[in-house]
């Protein structure tokens, strides 16, 4: 597991032209074309950063998930990502909940 601080500070890649690691997913078959070259990799989709599991033969999307911490996607994520909000940050919501 990579440290949260790596999301803040990452070195410049040593590779002249970086690539995306398309991780092969074993045991899945494309429901559209029957292909078995299924890969999971980070994409920018309509809602922003997602992890896509796609057939590499026909590009059919088998699943599209919100990235987990270990996916390291998007590149930056604050350490406070899963912290509880402070009272100040929820003040209006709580105030209006009480009033209603």
């Amino acid at each position: 597991m990579r440290s949260w601080v790596e999301r803040y500070s990452q070195p410049r890649p040593s590779s002249e032209q970086p690539t995306v690691d398309r991780v092969k997913v074993e045991g899945l078959t494309c429901e559209k074309c029957g292909g078995d070259d299924i890969r999971r990799y980070p994409v920018a989709a309509v809602h922003g950063p997602r992890m896509a599991t796609k057939c590499q033969d026909c590009l059919h999307t088998l699943s599209l998930e919100r990235p987990k911490d270990e996916d390291f996607w998007p590149l930056f994520r604050p350490v406070t990502w899963d912290w509880e909000p402070s009272l100040a940050e929820r003040a209006s919501r709580d105030l209006n909940s009480r009033e209603s």
């Binding site: 890649p13 909000p85 919501r93």
Partner: protein, 704 residues
């Protein structure tokens, strides 16, 4: 009721749907299969078509009101003059993702950026933590902001206790702090040297301004008096949008507005899927080059492969260079900016919303220049942006050749500036501004590219000369369409528009956002390449005058700062060598001190032409010569059009012969790069105006 594309969208003209130039692929999709009848709309969304379309228009109207409000109330000159902003409405889906349902943008970017950024905000803040009257501010490029000078606001719209819609707006502040006025520090290698990075923070809570957030912004920027005005303008715009949305909700009910929003998103998706389906399956590849990062001299490759499969497209940036040391990288923005090209080429008529974005996935390698990793600098991303926009056009031009667009000048061609204003009555106040003069666009199958307009990716206006001179000690001594600079073609590009800027008081700190100085911009379908960009310091005559005709200034009055020059010291985009004998090895000057009385000449690149220049209507060439945009030499040597030097009338027989000769000489090779030659060394060698030449030739007295 059967629906054709034209009937569905009400865009028929003389019985022919606008998009019918592209034949549908019958093996993939029939012409009508992707569109719904009124009955089907009612069955699918539980709302009648007329109401759905009325609400769709109503949502767009909300953003039009917001647009007008922000433009008329902003202090920032990029917003009030150049319309460098966008205003949006977003819908909240059941899984708490959001989708943009309407937008009015001055700058095209925002229509593509804010859908992603809105999702970044809701994911991080948490939908359950938003309250009525809350507004979030953020300018972080790693959370989807275009760059840090853009301050983006996001505000929920509550209905019956739930945030069902969101509004967003943005303003490009003239300063965001950091070591360089305007925030474009081309010498930065880290984001910390660029300005104030604002994570998502409350800037209003329960409709009250959050003092600590406002103080943070105003106390870390050079122009607090402008920035407070802009923040208030953004609040006001949100209030206008919220009031309009609530009226829409009150009139039609939330269920109908949500149903109509689902309908309009799906409609946009259907249209784009139909358009993609008409593109032959396969891979399409293209590349672009950024001159340099402002720090090192290496050009930067930006490449992409678009894979079309049925009605889906995946665009992969593999092959793109890694992030450079300097600030040219982009942190998220290129993932959505890449979709501008497909939108422009494949479905340009339909209003933008997130529905079309459902048809695409973009793959951007971490650490590449299009997905630069924190904490790298990224403030010069704008010139990468221009290249990415052209990259998208180049990919899609292969897919639909009849809609291909030649390259534009592909540079921001802007000059952020700042300093202390000691002019009488100014009280030594800090000032900031951005002057943006536009570039030449590429030729198309239908016509010449326009000039004097900002790169198409930005879609914004040029700044206003009079207001700039009022608000800052900058004098715009002139702007010219530079003769012979446009990429030649059956339809030529727009022209490079050179601009002369002079500081009239004290010392002005300027940055030049200029690229496309190293490589000429490409044409399509046999079109020629246009001129490259240059930066000069100008030497004035003792009386302060600068000899200048149609953008041409003799070398005796110029000190080359950057550009391509041949060994004779002449500017030469085709055979010259980059930074040969120039003071700088980049067009991206930063923290350049423009002293009182000093003048800079900035020349942007022109675009490429569309189609063979020897097929250009001779009458159009004659008009360009008459208007002093094309010289007699270029008319003859590039377009093969021979004009009578006295009357400027086309000599049809000689033109035919010349065109045959040039076609034979070129043997299918590309036409020469457009450029004025020979460049005059002294004022005595300056070209005569076309009208003067004609007058002199006819034995009449020339007129000044």
């Amino acid at each position: 009721m059967g629906t054709s594309r034209g009937e569905t969208d009400g865009v028929e003209s003389d019985g022919i749907a606008v998009n019918d130039a592209i034949e549908p692929r019958s093996d993939v999709v029939s012409e009508n299969s992707n569109f719904l009848t009124a009955k089907e709309v009612e069955e699918e969304y539980g709302i009648d078509l007329i109401t759905a379309e009325t609400i769709r228009a109503g949502l767009i109207e909300v953003t039009r009101h917001m647009f007008r409000t922000l433009k008329e109330s902003a202090f920032s000159n990029p917003v009030r003059e150049m319309t460098d902003f966008g205003v949006c409405v977003h819908m909240v889906n059941e899984d708490n993702s959001t989708e943009l349902i309407s937008v009015t943008e001055g700058c095209t970017h925002f229509a593509f950026t804010h859908p992603h950024m809105m999702n970044f905000m809701v994911d991080e803040w948490g939908i359950d933590n938003f309250g009525p009257g809350d507004t979030i501010v953020c300018n972080d490029p790693w959370r989807g902001s275009i760059h840090m000078p853009d301050v983006n606001l996001f505000r929920p719209v509550f209905w019956e206790g739930k945030p069902i819609l969101f509004l967003s707006d943005a303003s490009h502040l003239v300063d965001i702090g950091g070591p360089v006025p305007g925030g474009f520090n081309t010498s930065a290698t880290e984001v910390f040297a660029e300005g104030l990075r604002i994570p998502p923070m409350l800037i209003t809570s329960n409709d009250k301004p959050v003092r600590s957030t406002i103080n943070l912004i105003l106390e870390n920027t050079r122009t607090p008096q402008h920035n407070l005005g802009d923040l208030r303008a953004l609040f006001g715009t949100m209030k206008v949008g919220e009031a309009r949305l609530l009226r829409l909700l009150e009139r039609y009910g939330a269920d109908a507005v949500i149903a109509a929003s689902r309908y309009l998103l799906d409609l946009s998706e259907r249209r784009m899927r139909a358009a993609i389906s008409r593109v032959p399956d396969g891979k399409y590849e293209a590349e672009e080059w950024v001159d340099d990062d402002g720090l090192t001299e290496d050009p930067i490759r930006v490449a992409a492969t678009a894979t079309v499969s049925g009605d889906h497209m995946e665009i992969d940036y593999t092959g793109t260079d890694r992030q450079p040391l300097g600030s040219i990288g982009s942190c998220w923005e290129e993932t959505n900016r890449m979709l501008v090209g497909p939108k422009v080429v494949l479905d340009p008529e339909h209003p933008m919303n997130s529905g079309m974005m459902r048809c695409f996935h973009v793959v951007a390698p971490a650490g590449s220049v299009v997905m630069a990793a924190p904490p790298t600098s990224n403030c010069q991303h704008a010139d990468l942006a221009a290249k990415v926009a052209d990259l998208g056009l180049r990919l899609c031009g292969q897919m639909v050749p009849e809609r291909a667009v030649a390259a534009d000048g592909a540079t921001t061609f802007a000059m952020p500036l700042g300093g202390i204003d000691d002019r009488p009555g100014r009280g030594g106040q800090p000032y900031g501004g951005i002057i943006c003069q536009g570039v030449g666009w590429g030729g198309t199958a239908n016509g010449d590219g326009i000039s004097f307009c900002c790169s198409p990716i930005y879609g914004i206006s040029s700044s206003t000369v009079e207001l700039m001179e009022r608000d800052t000690p900058l004098m715009i001594r002139g702007t010219d369409l530079q003769i012979d600079s446009a990429g030649a073609g059956k339809f030529r590009s727009g022209f490079a528009n050179s601009a002369l800027f002079e500081c009239t008081d004290g010392e002005m700190i300027v940055t030049t956002l200029i690229d496309s100085g190293r490589k000429t911009r490409w044409g399509v379908a046999g079109g020629g390449e246009g001129a490259t960009a240059y930066v000069y310091r100008v030497k004035k005559d003792p009386d302060g005058r600068i000899p200048r005709v149609n953008g041409i200034i003799p070398l005796s009055h110029l000190t080359p700062l950057s550009g391509c020059f041949n060994d004779d010291g002449l500017p030469d985009p085709e055979h010259g060598i980059w930074s040969n004998g120039t003071e700088f090895h980049t067009n991206k000057l930063t923290n350049y001190v423009l002293k009182e009385g000093e003048t800079l000449l900035l020349v942007p690149a022109a675009g490429g032409g569309y189609g063979e220049p020897l097929e250009r209507d001779p009458e159009l060439v004659r008009q360009d010569v008459w208007n002093e945009k094309v010289s007699l030499r270029a008319a003859e040597e590039i377009y093969g059009v021979v004009l009578d030097a006295n009357t400027l009338e086309v000599q049809m027989r000689e033109t035919g012969e010349q065109r045959e000769k040039l076609a034979s000489d070129r043997g299918g090779d590309a036409p020469p790069v457009s450029w004025f030659a020979p460049w005059p060394r002294t004022a005595d060698e300056m070209p005569l105006r076309a009208s003067e030449a004609a007058a002199v030739g006819a034995g009449k007295e020339g007129s000044e």
